[in-house]
Amino acid sequence: MAVPLVFEKRSKTFMAFNDSFIMIKRSGLHIIRNRDQLLGAFFQPIMFLVLFASVFGGAISKALPPGVTYLNFLMAGIIVQTTAFGSTTTAIAVCNDLQKGIVDRFRSLPMSNLAVLNGHVISDLFRNSISTLVMLLAGLVIGFRPHASLTDWLLIAGILFLFTLAFSWLSAIVGVMAKSVEGVQWLTFVLVFPLTFASTAFVPAQGMGRILKAFAVNQPITQVVEAVRALILGTPIGNHGWLAVAWSVGILVIAMPFASWLFRRKTLS
């Protein structure tokens, strides 16, 4: 061979991080190359925002506290909904990798196995950040007027960051377990749609039936929505902030090792 090869000799931990880094770069390139998906990440949130604001705005604004416009109320909900749906891209990406031979290739390399999952999860974070920013800008154009300080925005970013991470790891589980990409799409839709709609993302809980309301006010999406909403509107956040973080961390602590375990098991048999 003409080229003398130099191998990295670093600690195992360093190389594991390096592997994840390489895989994040790979997934990042996927985001850029996958133009349809990228367009979706731009336009779907705008579409949802405009539709919800104009269709529901008039009817729901009467149920809102005085001085709160529906757009200002809606913003938190629609951001959380978009990130929740955005996280399901991990499931599709993981399933795609497993269907094709590429996971075998990765596994025949002396690399950290979990880097594959890490790569997809972290790149979801990027795409979700893009979607969220697009939505905020579009919101400002059509009349969104937040009352959040810089600290509030940082808190919002932190809460959403944890939430996306938690949901992406959840969706990694779906991706490993599903038999086909179509299956993934169906499964994530059935999981995420009820969770986001049976919450206070789009409407206040007052008008809901007793059982629905009991579910809606206690489930994780509502906590995240309410925390972000309070920070945006400058209203008291109550327990929502802590609960939002606790839910996300709780999901993360369970989903991450479980997804990793499933992935290892699935790829070995």
Binding site: M1, A2, L5, E8, D19, R26, L29, I102, R105
Partner: protein, 320 residues
């Protein structure tokens, strides 16, 4: 530790999925710097064997070492010396050819500079330079396989697994692939190749292990295997049907087949040295002129059919 003569050693390898026994005790050894071909029909257990040897699959019992490392207890050590090219091209479709190579190089722990330089070298060697900056999904089938093989060579692993590397390729691409594989062998790479094409095993491999239904049913060099089953045949052609008839009469029982259209007679020869001369002498004595003659070696097809056929019959007996 002294280097063993064998780079891959598998002993009594067994693997079941539920009640289906896929491997029923496979033994194989690959000598350093040579190619062993694992030959067998679809479903014989070839891919399962390769997946186990390359650390991708857990197995039930037996031992496997690659370059002296146990695949179960030292998978990372094994992975750093092997390259794997599977049946479906394991490349990232959205990345370009070059990006694929560099990424895999980095995952093989190559330094950035090394990965880039080696990628360039392989792109040239495998004739992918022009397509280097295009996403791999735009590649033709042959080009995909070449990139796939290039990727598994990025860290110049001393041991290579090729799982049906030419299945589904057109004849031209297959020949290209054979050329590449031959040059790898010449460079000293040890290779385990699986194939269902007899010609491929015949052309490339130093030794052949024939497996069927999860068992090794024959082993040896291509010519050893052929000798085991078929005998050489001498085909004689004559000028006209009169000489043909004379020859058939002279050679008597030795003739196993005569063809009046082709004006040819076929004789079985057990020993090439003596039997050919004897046959020719018998004709010369009677002054029968020979127009042309060819010696037919049995092909691996003959070997394969007779071996797997025998296997089927043996099983039927067991059933009774």
């Amino acid at each position: 530790m002294a280097q063993s003569k064998y780079v891959i050693e598998a002993k009594d390898l067994k693997k079941s999925y539920g009640s289906a026994k896929v491997l029923k005790g496979i033994d194989l050894k690959v000598e350093r710097g040579t190619m062993l071909a694992l030959l067998g029909p679809n479903g014989a257990g070839k891919t399962t064997t390769v997946r186990i040897l390359s650390t991708l699959l857990a197995f039930d019992s037996g031992t496997v070492t690659v370059e002296g490392h146990d695949v179960t207890t030292e998978p990372d050590e094994v992975r750093s010396v092997i390259g794997l090219t599977g049946q479906s091209a394991a490349i990232d479709e959205l990345l370009t050819g070059r990006e694929n190579l560099v990424m895999m190089g980095r995952l093989y722990r190559l330094s950035k500079a090394s990965a880039k330089a080696r990628a360039q070298e392989l792109l040239e060697e495998f004739d992918i330079v022009e397509a280097a900056e295009r996403p791999a999904k735009t590649y033709s089938g042959g080009m995909r396989r070449r990139l796939d093989l290039a990727v598994s060579l990025i860290a110049t692993p001393p041991v290579l697994f090729l799982d049906e590397p030419t299945t589904g390729l057109d004849p031209r691409s297959r020949l290209d692939m054979w050329g590449i594989i031959k040059s790898l062998l010449a460079a000293g790479t040890s290779i385990l190749l699986t194939t269902q094409y007899l010609e491929e095993a015949d052309q490339l491999a130093d030794r052949i292990v024939v497996i069927d239904d999860g068992k090794v049913i024959a082993e040896g060099t291509a010519s050893e295997l052929k000798r085991k089953v078929g005998k050489d045949r001498l085909e004689l052609t004559f000028k006209d049907d009169r000489t043909l008839a004379q020859a058939v009469k002279v050679l008597g029982q030795n003739v196993i087949d005569s063809d009046e259209k082709e004006l040819s007679a076929t004789v079985v020869i057990k020993d090439t040295n003596t039997d050919v001369k004897e046959t020719l002498d018998m004709l010369a004595k009677q002054k029968i002129p020979i127009h042309a003659m060819t010696i037919h070696k049995p092909t691996l097809d003959d070997v394969f059919l007779s071996l797997t056929g025998k296997q089927k019959r043996a099983e039927k007996k067991e059933d009774l």
